[in-house]
């Protein structure tokens, strides 16, 4: 059991989902415990694998399905799961978020998608399966299949939402398919030149045959890169994201928003570092010169669009787009600290986005709207929810001791080392935008002032609301506890960031990355 822990990560949710589909036909109530249990089992597998990875000398666990082990067969004959520290860290994020959201899901799923609980949980668990698989797989084509697993479940989960969700999902389907297909094409280009699909194998062939100058490989890099950028909603390709996440059911957006974009950034990091290799990606392509400027444009546009929103979920959706810019920038400023920042930001952004979307879900449930106009007085009505929500918010701004501060610190340090001033300036700019976003929200909730600046109450803290509207009325515990748990995670990840960063440093130490002057 122990040596197969990495397989159990996927087996638990896979069987859980089928169990939901079959058993759920008879008894809908059974789906929720199945989902929570399989997530817990999966998380156990993840933690066990992390232990193995840390314990192993090379800091990675290679697991080849079907018994096509490396001692008897060439690499790439079977499909390999290749868990290095980075992969297993992101997997743990996926599983952790999945567990928290699955606990959270009980009531919203019942209320928002009545009679569809078995379907919902089936897709939910398969979504986790796909995302966790993406993080672990060591096979370029298997990655495509898993991306599609995650994407298709995502389409289904989103389309269960409001009426508009269908149209939004359709856009997502088209863009997502373009992205995945471009990735597939890129893998084909890699295959035509290297003759293998195994990530390690590809890297070995690139180095051995000196393929860095091959135009096919260059185009393959572009295709894979653009495919992933579309999937992660990088700025010019972000069109699918806001509508999809806004109109999705609460649980769906809480699950997808923290994970999908982040996992795709992980894929980019993996492609850049492990598959194509540092020399190829950074030295022999133009991406290092071009991407930081695209990132600047992306962050500015996303931040400005977030400013224009008057609805929490939509605002958060644009924030995600901006955050994607952070992380992509952290990779392409090309240095050690930038990558630490990028990887750590993947982790912390997942935590804080989870926090925010769980909070938004609770607000929607209790206040019946997430539009800014309907939020006044929520601090007294649901103080715990608001605490959780704004811990996430402060983390996005980057206030210590939340994890957002530390990731931002590393990103800034990275920009400093690479002397990418434009990236640093834009980080500052978007930080200020986020300050405005969240404190404007606090103002709207806390103050008895309308947006245009009129006093609404009689003064002395009167919010112009009735007693019932400000009375203490928290959401159900099954939703509140996951939110507070997520908020705690945001703080804990911040406080113990050094431990995580140490792990990331172990991972990065095998790559030859510039560390800056005097390091």
């Amino acid at each position: 059991m122990m040596e197969n822990a990495i397989a159990w990560i996927l087996i638990f949710p896979l069987f859980g989902s089928v169990a939901c589909a079959i058993l759920g036909m008879g008894n809908k109530k059974i789906c929720y415990p199945i989902a929570v249990l399989s997530m817990a089992g999966s998380l156990w597998g993840g933690i066990e694998t992390l232990r193995q990875v840390i314990a192993s000398e090379v800091h990675r666990v290679s697991y080849i399905f079907g018994g096509w082990t490396l001692d008897k067969y060439p690499r790439g004959v079977g499909i390999e799961f290749h868990a290095d520290i980075l992969g297993i860290l992101i997997t743990l994020v996926v599983l952790g978020v999945g567990l928290i959201v699955s606990i959270y899901s009980k009531l919203p799923v019942q209320d928002e998608t009545p009679n569809k609980e078995p379907l919902f949980y089936t897709l939910f668990l398969l979504q986790i399966t796909g995302l966790a698989g993406i993080c672990l797989t060591g096979d370029a084509f298997n990655l495509y299949v898993l991306i599609e697993v995650a994407a298709l479940t995502g389409y289904g989960l989103i389309a269960m939402g409001s009426k508009r969700a269908a149209a939004a999902t359709f856009n997502y389907v088209i863009l997502g398919t373009i992205g995945a297909s471009l990735y597939l094409l890129g893998v084909g280009y890699i295959y035509i030149k290297t003759g293998t699909l195994n990530m390690v194998g590809i890297h070995d062939v690139i180095v051995a045959n000196g393929l860095a100058d091959s135009s096919t490989m260059q185009v393959a890099f572009v295709l894979v890169g653009i495919g992933i950028l579309i999937k992660m909603a990088f700025f010019p390709f972000h069109a699918w994201l806001p509508n999809a996440y806004c109109n999705a059911p609460t649980v769906t957006s809480s699950l997808l928003a923290p994970l999908v974009t982040k996992v795709m950034i992980y894929v980019m990091i993996r492609m850049v570092l492990s598959v194509f290799g540092v020399e190829f990606s950074f030295e022999s392509t133009l991406w290092v010169d071009v991407m930081p400027w695209l990132v600047v444009v992306a962050i500015i546009c996303a931040a400005v669009m977030a400013l224009a929103q008057r609805e929490i979920k939509r605002m958060l959706a644009y924030l995600i787009v901006a955050e994607v810019g952070y992380m992509v920038g952290g990779v392409w400023i090309y240095n050690y600290y930038g990558l630490i920042g990028s990887i750590f930001h993947v982790i912390s952004d997942a935590c804080m986005t989870l926090c925010l979307f769980l909070g938004a879900g609770l607000i929607l449930r209790k206040a019946k709207t997430t539009h800014f106009d309907g939020l006044r007085g929520l601090f007294s009505k649901m103080p715990l929810t608001m605490t959780g929500f704004f811990i996430g918010g402060f983390s996005i701004i980057g206030l210590p001791p939340t994890c957002g501060f530390f990731s931002k610190w590393y990103l800034i340090t990275g920009g400093m080392v690479s002397q990418r001033w434009e990236y640093m300036v834009v980080l500052m700019f978007s930080t200020m935008v986020m300050v405005v976003l969240f404190f404007r929200l606090i103002e709207r909730i806390h103050l008895a002032v309308s947006e245009s600046g009129e006093n609404l109450g009689h003064g002395h803290g009167d919010l112009g609301l009735t007693k019932e509207q400000t009375r203490f009325d928290e959401g159900p515990l099954s939703m509140l506890i996951p939110l507070l748990l997520a908020a705690t995670v945001v703080l804990v990840v911040g406080i113990y960031n050094q431990d995580i960063v140490n792990l990331i440093e172990i991972f990065l130490s095998e790559f030859n990355l510039p560390k800056g002057v005097g390091h």
Partner: protein, 297 residues
């Protein structure tokens, strides 16, 4: 003309498949991006995926090779003609052997075929799901033309918008009858606008909307005030100064950036009181709309 090294030779003779797949792929991509009809987009998607399949299969081709199924003489169980596999001991005697390396070139590369089997299945799954979405969209909006869907969504949002404001505005003082009377007003006045916004360009509607916007923002700002003596349609209501709502309205109009939410005044003749009527006018508008546009195509 076709000497070695010329581009024509390179592209059209030796790599013809790769050239054709690019063309197919571009057709598909263009269809996905540019077509207005959702089904046509899906057709584009299928062409796109098929092009990729063609590419992969081309990669697997080997000159002079046969399909990747062992010929009878290489069959792991031996020739079917001479040996039946009636007993298990046969294998020990006649066990499977590794194919000699010289024979490998006789079989096509099986891997791309396997990959494409997977890709086909994924394509089918995506297509099925997308068709279901199309059905759902058609149920919701009665059309599968993208621009019409967008227009309808915009209109719905606009209809939704005042109701949110009203909700939050009249919720603090639900008792005062005045604010209740005034509250539904913007909702009603906005419903005929469905027709208007359809008929005229967006920018125009935006400018025309300022007046009603003043009204709605007034409703928003004034109704929760302690003094219930706020009457909606006139500017006499607010105690502070009658000019105030106007200024705020212009401010909000300036601020509204992403989506124009046009709320033109109600036309005097068209004054639908119920929602159903409004939707019927909306339907009429959409029904009439495609007509002038189709001949252009």
């Amino acid at each position: 003309m076709f000497e070695d090294g010329t581009i024509i030779n390179e592209l059209f003779i030796e790599r013809l498949n790769y050239f054709i797949y690019v063309i197919l792929l571009l057709i598909g991509l263009h269809g996905m991006i540019a077509k207005n009809n959702l089904i046509k987009k899906l057709i584009g998607m299928s062409i796109f995926q098929t092009a990729i399949i063609l590419f992969y299969v081309s990669v697997g081709v080997k000159e002079g090779a046969t399909i990747p199924i062992y010929l009878p003489e290489h069959d792991p169980h031996g020739s079917h003609a001479s040996h039946g596999d009636e007993n298990g001991t046969e294998e020990a005697v006649h066990g499977p052997v590794v194919l000699e390396s010289g024979l490998v070139k006789g079989y096509a590369n099986p891997l791309p075929h396997v990959l494409m089997l997977t890709a086909i299945v994924v394509g089918v799954a995506t297509l099925g799901l997308a068709l279901a979405l199309c059905l759902r969209i058609y149920q919701g909006y009665g059309t599968i033309e993208e621009d019409e869907i967008l227009a309808k969504i915009e209109r719905q949002e606009m209809r939704l918008k005042p109701s949110i404001i009203v909700k939050s505005a009249d919720s603090p003082k639900p008792k005062t009858s005045n604010s209740e009377n005034s509250a539904p007003k913007p909702k009603v006045s906005s419903s005929p606008s469905t027709k208007r916004s359809k008929a005229r360009p967006k920018a125009k509607a935006k400018t025309a909307s300022t007046a009603t916007k003043a009204k709605t923002s007034q409703a928003k700002s004034s109704s929760p005030k302690p003094k219930p003596a706020v009457s909606k349609s006139t500017t006499t209501g607010t105690k502070k100064s009658p000019a105030k709502p106007k200024t705020t309205a212009s401010k909000t109009a300036g601020k509204s950036t992403t989506k124009a939410k046009p709320k033109p005044r109600a036309k005097p003749k068209a004054k639908p009181t119920t929602r159903t009527k409004a939707t019927s006018t909306a339907k009429k508008a959409t029904a009439s709309k495609p007509k002038p546009r189709t001949p252009k195509k």
